[in-house]
């Protein structure tokens, strides 16, 4: 988002220039003989001092502490000191400071400040108070409460498209699949069907049915595929469901269609190739098992090494990430707990915390 950042920079420079300008103006103002806060007068303090010394001598004389002779001597000493200082003052007058010198000085201040800041500063870098940071907000926001609030509003204003759009994925996340499907249906009613919306609806229905493909879900997926000839997600779902239902021929077509739409590097490519192979082999999987075994072996060797002899925070991060990707959240939580106890200072765990907390893991053992 270049917009807000640019705006931040502009405000920063505005404040910086304003500060410099105010400082220079105050100094100029003082230099022109009128002062903002620091008026100065001719010095009289020294005279005060000698008056007080004199008063002290007279008080001592009056109290009988010193004799009149001594008092005369002390006064004479004082008078000589005053005369000497006055003579010194006489030859000390030099010209006043010129306005040109002042202006040059102020220009120097401004130049020096901006040049130094250019070297050291990070203009436009905003603050990141902990409470305002997204990963923390996600951790702290109570999803259930938020969804309940939005639903209450939607009950009053059922035509609030934005409300439905926000609440639908949240309902999926909360596991309320039937309500989520209803929400997606409502969005489609309000804004018209798109391939993505039909797919999201089908996904909610599939999840509701516990992975058993329902006729309605399949119908929505087919609508989605028909609505958009380049929609990948709906085709992948169709292919997977058809494979599961044993309709290998049609499944193979959808696998191929999805693969044909791939641009390369998508995370689902490998799974789709395996699916196609299974469909073409009429349901017999040869490679997938081996591959899953390989991944599992890798993760378990990393995990046993880390659990036994510990490792760097990066290795722990890799392990937690692997479990999250494999969908094994309880193992991920265990690994995360171990990593936290190995690295109790959150300061060391920057990336790990972000990954773990955004996957819904809990930070145990830090708060007493």
């Amino acid at each position: 988002m270049p917009g807000p950042k640019r705006k931040g920079i502009n405000i920063f420079w505005f404040v910086a220039i304003a500060l410099t300008a105010i400082a220079c103006a105050a100094l100029l103002y003082a230099g022109r003989g009128r002062t903002v806060n620091a008026g100065r007068r001719e010095s009289t303090e020294k005279d005060d001092h000698f008056r007080m010394v004199l008063a002290g001598i007279e008080a001592d004389l009056a109290a009988g502490k010193i004799s009149p002779d001594q008092a005369e001597g002390a006064k004479g000493e004082l008078a000589r000191e005053i005369l000497r200082l006055r003579a010194e003052d006489g030859d000390r007058r030099a010209g006043q400071l010129g306005l040109g010198t002042i202006a040059a000085g102020l220009a120097g201040v401004a130049l020096l400040s901006f040049a130094t800041y250019a070297v050291l500063g990070n203009p436009g870098m905003g603050g990141q108070p902990l409470a305002a940071r997204p990963e923390v907000a996600a951790q702290q926001m109570n999803l259930v409460d938020a969804v309940a609030r939005i639903e209450a509003r939607l009950a009053r204003e059922p035509d609030d498209l934005r409300g439905w759009t926000v609440v639908a994925p949240a309902l999926v996340e909360l596991g309320r699949y039937a309500d989520a499907a209803g929400a997606y249906q409502r969005i489609i009613d309000l804004s018209g069907a798109t391939a993505q919306l039909e797919t999201d609806l089908a996904e909610a229905l599939l999840l509701e049915a516990g992975g058993q493909g329902s006729e309605t879900a399949m119908a929505h997926l087919r609508t989605a595929a028909a609505l958009d000839g380049r929609h990948v997600q709906s085709r992948l779902y169709l292919a997977a469901e058809l494979t599961r239902m044993g309709q290998y021929q049609e499944a193979a077509q959808f696998w191929q269609a999805a693969l044909a739409l791939a641009e390369g590097g998508e995370p689902w490519l490998e799974a789709a190739r395996q699916g196609l192979a299974v469909a073409q082999n009429n349901g017999v999987d040869t490679s997938a098992e081996q591959q899953a075994e390989m991944i599992g072996a890798m993760v378990s060797s990393l995990s046993s090494r880390l659990y036994e002899s510990g490792g760097s925070v990066e290795e722990w991060t890799q392990l937690v990430r692997s479990y999250i990707v494999l969908g094994d959240l309880s193992e991920a939580q265990l690994a995360y707990d171990r990593a936290v106890s190995a690295y109790p200072q959150a300061f060391d765990r920057g990336e790990l915390d972000t990954i773990a907390l955004s996957a819904g893991l809990e930070l145990n053992g830090v708060e007493p």
Partner: protein, 657 residues
């Protein structure tokens, strides 16, 4: 964005200071207009550094870990007060606090020093600005507190648990106010050397600033001592730790400066020595602050240190202090010497005071630096411990305390020692009587304790001799005496109180050193132990969570000899973020004495308990409070007040001529 505004403000303030330093030190003869600009600049520097400091505080309070300083030293679970005090619980932040106090003093001189002669004012502000520019640049280029992290961690590394205490909120600001306040005396000394003009009025201007800094330093050191006493968990209140010495040396020098400036103000004597002391005092303050930061000394006070930083600091100190002494060497001979006086006189007594204090500084300086030098040059590592300091410092202080009560009783110029001695007979008799009484009651043992007590009481009672003398108590009707007491100048009261505070501190030190008792034992809940007539029962043991730590808490019931029962909680805390343990001792006060309980390491099935009985230990700190109070009283004296209003009674100076 506030962080970046703060960063810019600190840079702007340093740039302003650099240009002001040039203006003040080079163009100082250019009169009133320059003075007005420098005064304005001093106020602006204070405002700008204030903005920078506020930006840091704000980042700590909202746990903005994109500020590297906050990420390294704060923690989101920390209580608010420790988030704030955490700003200066580290190298970079403490530098900003240091500079903030420096510019605060500069602004105070600008606000209250309006009646100073222009050229003196220009030189003073120029020197102050030079210090601000030097330390501002050091901060920005080698220890920038405004460094940012593009990938901020989710949690900070937390502050050292030992520092998570109210002490950190109070001790460093007070101590720094004391250290930095002496920069004003330093600047006045440089101004006197550059302008070649030094007179009694100079001493009159310097004295309030010396007094103010001295008060802060006294309180800061006392606070630090009490903090160490209750937080470090083994009941010691002074360790002769290099850093403590580093703060004690400027205090001794500042005390000497207070007394010598008095001679200069009243008698126009000791001028060059006073200038020298002003430079020494601030140099020792710099040494105190930055020797620690350079990493040359390692102790509790050393935050993360790195060698380049240390090198820069040492170079800066060498240039600043060396430059000042070079200037002193070049100009001191050109200064006019002061008046002469007899050895037995108020001046003479004050010189004796300065002599002992200066020697004490020398001894401590040697004891602190000698091991370092030896290590650096020969590679032998030795440690100069408390016995060395106790012995040398004690030996130097005993004669000082012995002659102290005489000082205020001696008149200026020429005095009669016998007459002063007669007036102190009462105090001496009282001190001897009390010492014999206490020794008799406490059982006689061959030790230095009675001598210490004698000195303490002697100073305590002797300090009032002048007041009793002036009020003619016992020689004229009581009502008349009270009237005279009320009429005494506050400076007389301040002198008496200040010396009395010292007496109290001495008594506290002697009492704790001589009569402290200690008990180390193992206890289980339900069992009891006894020390110095106090019965200590281990009532219960529990694990209690705190905001950012877990605590093993021991609950004790203490029955005093008088029968009253107190319930104490002693804790061992383990801080979550750092895993560091701390001990929180339980301290119960009985009058001026304290019982100090420390829960030790847990053993297999029992707990180690350490108990100390510290008789009259509070006198140590009460004495320092009395001393500081005396300083405040002296500041309110008409003769020392900032920008004193003109006298009502006008004596014309011409009459004297």
């Amino acid at each position: 964005m506030t962080i970046e505004i703060g960063h810019f403000s600190l840079i702007l303030a340093s740039a302003l200071a650099l240009v002001s330093a040039f203006g003040g030190l080079v163009l100082w003869r250019r009169g009133e207009r320059l003075a007005a600009i420098l005064a304005q600049s001093a106020l602006l520097q204070f405002l700008l550094v204030g903005i920078a400091f506020a930006a840091l505080v704000q980042a700590f309070v909202v746990s903005d870990f994109s500020l590297a300083l906050a990420a390294n030293n704060s923690h989101s679970l920390k209580p608010l007060i420790y988030k704030i005090s955490g700003v200066w619980g580290n190298h970079e932040g403490s530098l900003v606090l240091w500079i903030l106090i420096l510019v605060l003093f500069g602004a105070l001189v600008a606000a209250f020093g309006r009646r100073l002669p222009d050229d003196l004012f220009n030189l003073v502000q120029g020197t102050q600005s030079l210090l601000v520019a030097a330390f501002g640049a050091f901060t920005l280029f080698t220890s920038n507190p405004f460094e940012r992290l593009t990938q901020p961690p989710l949690e900070g590394a937390d502050l050292n648990p030992v520092l998570q205490d109210i002490g950190l909120a109070i001790h460093p600001p007070l101590l720094y106010a004391g250290y930095v306040g002496f920069s004003i005396c330093f600047s006045f000394a440089i101004a006197a050397l550059v302008s070649g003009r030094i007179d009694q009025a100079w001493a009159r201007w310097v004295r309030p600033w010396t007094m103010l800094s001295w008060i802060f330093l006294t309180l800061g050191i006392a606070m630090g001592s009490y903090w160490a006493y209750y937080e470090l968990g083994w009941g010691g209140w002074w360790f002769w730790d290099p850093v403590e010495n580093a703060s004690f040396m400027p205090w001794l020098a500042g005390t000497a400066l207070l007394h010598s400036a008095l001679v200069m103000e009243k008698r126009n004597a000791l001028k060059i020595w006073t200038i020298f002391l002003s430079i020494i005092t601030f140099s020792l303050s710099l040494l105190g602050t930055f020797l620690v930061r350079s990493g040359v000394l390692t102790s509790v006070h050393t935050f993360a240190s790195d060698p380049t930083r240390g090198l820069v600091i040492l170079t800066m100190l060498a240039v600043l202090i060396g430059g000042a002494f070079l200037l002193f060497a070049m100009r001191a001979s050109a200064l006019r010497q002061g008046g002469l006086f007899a050895p037995i006189s108020r001046e003479g007594a004050l010189i004796l005071n300065n002599l002992f204090l200066a020697t004490a500084i020398g001894a401590i300086l040697v004891g602190t630096l000698y091991p370092l030098l030896l290590d650096a040059l020969v590679g032998t590592s030795i440690s100069v411990g408390a016995p060395f300091f106790d012995l040398t410092f004690g030996a130097l202080m005993a004669p000082l305390l012995l002659v102290l009560p005489f000082g205020p009783l001696l008149p200026w110029k020429r005095a009669d020692l016998v007459a002063a001695g007669q007036r102190l007979m009462g105090a001496a008799a009282l001190a001897v009587f009390l010492t014999i009484l206490i020794s008799a009651l406490g059982g006689i043992s061959i030790s230095l304790a009675p001598v210490g007590l004698l000195l303490g009481f002697w100073v305590l009672f002797g300090s009032f001799a002048e007041i009793i003398e002036r009020a003619r108590i016992g020689r004229i009707p009581a009502r008349e005496s009270v009237r005279r007491l009320m009429g005494l100048p506050r400076s007389i009261w301040a002198t008496a109180l200040g010396h009395m505070g010292l007496g109290l501190t001495v008594l506290g030190i002697v009492s704790v050193t001589a009569w402290e008792t200690e008990l180390v034992t193992t206890l289980n809940p339900g069992e009891s132990a006894e020390l110095a007539g106090y019965e200590i029962t281990f009532e219960d043991f529990a694990q209690v969570p705190g905001p950012n730590y877990m605590a093993d808490t021991g609950i004790f019931a203490v029955t005093a000899p008088g029968g009253q029962v107190a319930h104490l909680h002693a804790e061992r805390r383990s801080y979550v973020a750092s895993g560091m343990p701390t001990t929180e001792a339980a301290i119960e006060t009985y009058g001026l004495s304290q019982l100090y309980l420390q829960l030790g390491e847990p053993l297999a099935d029992t707990h180690v308990l350490r108990v100390w009985h510290k008789p009259y230990i509070l006198l140590i700190w009460i004495g320092t409070l009395v001393m500081s109070g005396a300083g405040v009283l002296s500041l309110t004296d008409r003769r020392l007040r900032f920008g004193a209003p003109k006298q009502a009674r006008r004596h014309s100076i011409e009459a004297a001529e």
